[in-house]
């Protein structure tokens, strides 16, 4: 008993140290976002919500948020549909061809971002895909689709292959089998892939900094421009909002999962 508590204390201290190192720099932006004056001083001298008001009223910031969300949602939709289809195809293909196709499709995850970005930029420049929405969508789809392929492939590999045979033997064609049997079985993988795709697009800076123009900027680019050109605590407000939202997204499944199990145990 004593021994286990002592070992626990050592481990606990270590865990706290690691957590502080990881989280503390992030949490610094929270007080700064509530600063009264236009300064990055920490801790701030006075408190206000001016920078939050600015974030949601300044057309520069609101349009960047809008662009990021629009690009993120569209990229998520495209990646989820194409990535799931690709994963299904790869799964059925099997063998060496499947490994090759997977390698090609997943390459953007391994190739350094700057290399992809420069390549994308040089080609898109010629195709006149810079500075417009389509360019962002295509570039982000390429960069985000590996995440969907990887998560859906792993879901498929743990799904009983006999389920599709069973559906077929019961008279279901390929489409009905997919919608009623395969998709529900791989839904967790598809969901995780979609989330990763959105985050990848929302977070993407390198390709976006090549493709951006004053007319179309995603939120990370606007933040980058802001932090290099001016002292504006609005960037701290943006960071705080993103921090809150991502924390909520991570914690949400943990809470929703608990509820049905409680219901099941009470009945």
């Amino acid at each position: 008993m004593d021994e286990t508590t002592r070992a626990g204390w050592g481990l606990r201290l270590w865990a706290i140290l690691v957590a502080v190192l990881l989280v503390a720099p992030l949490l610094v932006v929270v007080p700064i976002s509530f600063a009264e004056k236009r300064s990055f001083k920490f801790p701030p001298d006075g408190l206000s919500v001016d920078w939050y008001v600015n974030l949601f009223t300044d057309q520069r910031w609101t349009s960047a948020i809008g662009t990021s969300i629009l690009v993120g949602v569209l990229v998520t939709l495209i990646c989820t549909v194409l990535g799931t289809a690709a994963a299904l195809g790869i799964h059925r293909l099997g063998g060496r061809v499947a490994a090759l196709v997977t390698g090609v499709l997943v390459a953007p995850m391994i190739v350094p971002g700057i290399v992809s970005a420069v390549a994308i930029y040089s080609v898109y420049l010629r195709w006149q895909l810079t500075g417009n929405l389509l360019g962002f969508l295509l570039a982000h789809t390429v960069l985000a689709i590996p995440f969907v392929i990887v998560t859906v492939t792993s879901s498929l590999s743990t799904t009983d292959p006999m389920l599709e045979r069973a559906a077929a033997s019961l008279g279901a064609g390929p489409w009905r089998t997919f919608v009623r049997v395969t998709l529900p079985a791989i839904a967790p993988g598809v969901g995780a892939g979609a989330l990763f795709a959105f985050v990848t697009s929302f977070d993407e800076v390198v390709a976006a900094s090549f493709l951006q123009s004053p007319a179309i900027r995603t939120l990370p680019i606007e933040m980058f421009v802001s932090v290099t050109n001016e002292v504006d605590p609005t960037i701290a407000a943006v960071s705080t909002v993103i921090l809150a939202l991502t924390t909520a997204i991570v914690l949400l499944p943990a809470f929703t999962r608990r509820r049905p199990s409680q219901k099941a145990s009470s009945s």
């Binding site: 069973a166 019961l170 008279g171």
Partner: protein, 398 residues
């Protein structure tokens, strides 16, 4: 054959459904190995046919070609009179029960059963009625709202059966459906499957490697070995008249005496000539197969190995007359290696002079007082000794 009269006497099912015909079906895999080798087979409507064989013998692959999960490299498959060789599984209108049941985990029992009723032009009321009817058939009334995870393995098996039969397919395919169940449950499900087969009148094709299931369930057994059909017949035919050493050894247990044929119904075994059924081959290497329950203890042999069946003078242990074994046409010496008591019978493991081992089941009445290591004489009648060819001399030595 004669023993199947019991089946014929059972009440006839309401409707006889379609049969299955395989015509020279061959399945070559991409690796070049042959899964199914030139199999032709006719299954009558309403018949219960078992595909029996060791793993890798082609029984499941054959079933898969019928289901449409595997495309035959050549040959033709007919179901209920229609050529289905080129049809996908979804268009073959078959019921399939999978080894691990393959129930849809995100659907309730009722939704699982309802899945196959979709797109068959049934009204909502009819669908509901069919589901309840099939739940009742497999005795799962009241469990319709559970999910597969909330019911036991045996219940999942019943759901799989109900799901595959609810749309009344002409043929039901089952791939080792009892493999995942424990022994007691397996025996109960065998009885259930037999009952359901009688009730629905559907043609059942049942794949198993378990000879007990095959013997207990089937109207006919199709025995597979290395991609080929080696024997087709009723359970009694296969058990009592195995056509090959493989059939004899795979289905049931046997005493095998290897030797050279010396004419129809006579096999040279060492210095003896064993009398056996005369309708087999008349010359060449062969073996005589005798089932353990056809073998009888007819006497003891003295230590020098000389047979003494003249009334048990050597030890006075076994009185052949009292055991009703006086008429045994064939007698062979053996040594008792093991004795195991099974309640209904006693199982004596024997070693013969040529080094091969054998088995004898003797009844519970007046068991002869034999002990381990005892030299004994066992006997059997020619009508219970089947001659099978022995393929190669190399195997003969082995």
């Amino acid at each position: 054959m004669t023993d199947r009269s019991a089946t014929a006497a059972q009440p006839a099912p309401t409707t006889r459904t379609g049969g299955v015909r395989l015509d020279r079906v061959t399945k070559r895999f991409r690796s070049g190995t042959i899964g199914v080798d030139d199999v032709s087979l006719t299954v009558e409507p309403g018949e219960f046919v078992t595909f029996l064989g060791p793993s890798g013998s082609g029984k499941t692959t054959t079933l898969n070609t019928i289901a449409g999960f595997a495309k035959p490299s050549s040959g033709r498959i007919e179901i209920a009179g229609a050529d289905v060789t080129a049809l996908p599984p979804s268009k073959r209108n078959l019921g399939v029960v999978f080894q691990n049941y393959a129930l849809f985990p995100h659907m309730t029992v009722r939704e699982n059963i309802a899945f196959g009723l979709h797109g068959r032009g049934l009204s909502k009321a009819e669908i509901g009625a069919r589901i309840e009817e099939s739940l009742a058939m497999v005795r799962l009334d009241g469990l319709g709202d559970r999910t597969p995870k909330q019911i036991s393995g045996g219940q999942q098996q019943r759901v799989a059966l109900a799901r595959a039969l609810v749309y009344r397919p002409p043929v039901l395919l089952m791939d080792e459906p009892l493999g995942a169940l424990d022994k007691a449950l397996r025996d109960r499900m065998q009885v259930e499957i037999s009952r359901i087969h009688r009730e629905v009148g559907t043609t059942f094709l049942f794949v198993t490697h378990d000879q007990g299931e095959a013997l207990g369930l089937s109207d006919r057994i199709v025995l597979f070995d290395r991609g080929r059909v080696v024997q087709v017949g009723t359970p009694a035919e296969l058990y009592e008249r195995p056509a090959s050493l493989f059939a004899a050894e795979f289905l049931g247990e046997s005493n095998v005496f290897r030797g050279e044929l010396a004419g129809p119904g006579a096999l040279r075994f060492g210095e003896q000539t064993l009398r056996c059924m005369g309708d087999g081959p008349a010359s060449g290497s062969a073996a005589v197969v005798v089932r353990p329950e056809r073998l009888r203890l007819v006497g003891t042999a003295d230590a020098s190995g000389r047979a003494d069946a003249s009334g048990g003078a050597a030890r006075g242990a076994i009185d052949p007359a009292a055991r009703g074994a006086a008429g045994a046409e064939n007698r062979v010496e053996a040594r008792v290696v093991n004795i195991a008591y099974f309640g209904a019978f006693r199982r004596v493991t024997l070693r013969y002079a040529d080094g091969s081992s054998g088995l004898l089941h003797d009844g519970v009445d007046a068991p002869a007082p034999i002990a381990l290591g005892d030299p004994v004489v066992v006997g059997w009648d020619a009508e219970h000794a089947v001659v099978v060819p022995v393929p190669a001399p190399a195997e003969h030595a082995a």
